[in-house]
């Protein structure tokens, strides 16, 4: 019973803050709406018995990525968007495309059948805590993608350093 109410609350807040995030003029307000959305996504992960993912979501998404967005918003010093000539003149094209995507995805749901079940029923995940369950699965079957993810993060760090360097050395030559 509690699960139903919690899911409905999180769903309403997620959809509401999502709509507010894409329509607010001030980018700082949009980022704050997305922050609230991420917290409620973590809440949904909690009732799906994925507490490690909820913690990772809050730490990485809400704590690191959104702070990075806020830094860049302030660095770029965006004012409210003025009315200027747009590439595609009307916003209704985008809205109709998005509505079409939503309708076609939701209308295909009755034809969806789940595949064969795995080896991790909910009782087993709760008994060996979720962190250990993800660890057991990731470090045995998915160790190569784990290493590749580490390489991707290394590339991101190096790329960020290169992009942020000033051109003083180049212009001083």
């Amino acid at each position: 019973m509690f699960n139903y109410f919690f899911f409905l609350y999180c769903a309403v807040v997620i959809v509401g803050t999502g709509l507010l995030a894409i329509t607010m003029r001030n980018p700082v307000h949009s980022v704050l709406m997305v922050l609230v959305l991420f917290f409620h996504m973590a809440g949904l992960y909690l009732i799906l018995n994925a507490e490690f993912l909820a913690a990772v979501q809050i730490i990485v998404y809400a704590g690191a990525i959104l702070v990075l967005y806020l830094f860049v918003v302030f660095l770029v010093s965006i004012r409210e968007e003025l009315r200027m000539d747009r590439f595609v003149p009307s916003s209704w094209v985008g809205r109709i495309i998005a509505a079409g995507i939503a309708v076609s995805l939701i209308s295909m749901l009755p034809a969806f059948k789940l595949g064969p079940k795995g080896r991790w029923p909910v009782e087993r995940v709760v008994e060996v805590t979720h962190t250990k369950a993800i660890g057991m699965e990731m470090y045995s079957s998915y160790i190569l993608p784990f290493e590749i993810a580490g390489l991707i993060l290394l590339i991101a760090v190096i790329g960020g350093l290169v992009l942020a360097k000033h051109d003083d050395e180049a212009s001083a030559k």
């Binding site: 916003s91 939503a102 993800i134």
Partner: protein, 100 residues
Amino acid sequence: MIPLSWYMSLAAILFAIGVCGFLTRRNLIMMFLSIELMLNAVNLNMVAMSHYMESMRGQVFTFFIITVAAAEAAIGLGIAVTLYRSRKTVHVDEVNQLKG
């Protein structure tokens, strides 16, 4: 037990909201934020299906999606800052040097 179709519908709606934000907002930062919304919709789908299929694959994949999203946000925002330094704008409609 909450039916799986409720989670998938919520993920579909969130994905459509992300698409709408990406197509209507012409500001580079807002477009990247809409991409994060779309990635979160996919994450929700993966975790819900992993829960109902009693497997760990979806959640491990979600972990990697979060990692790659963090790396992509860092590089994308670095590109946005560099673009601002040279063009003094992040409005994508004004970056039209390649227009015929």
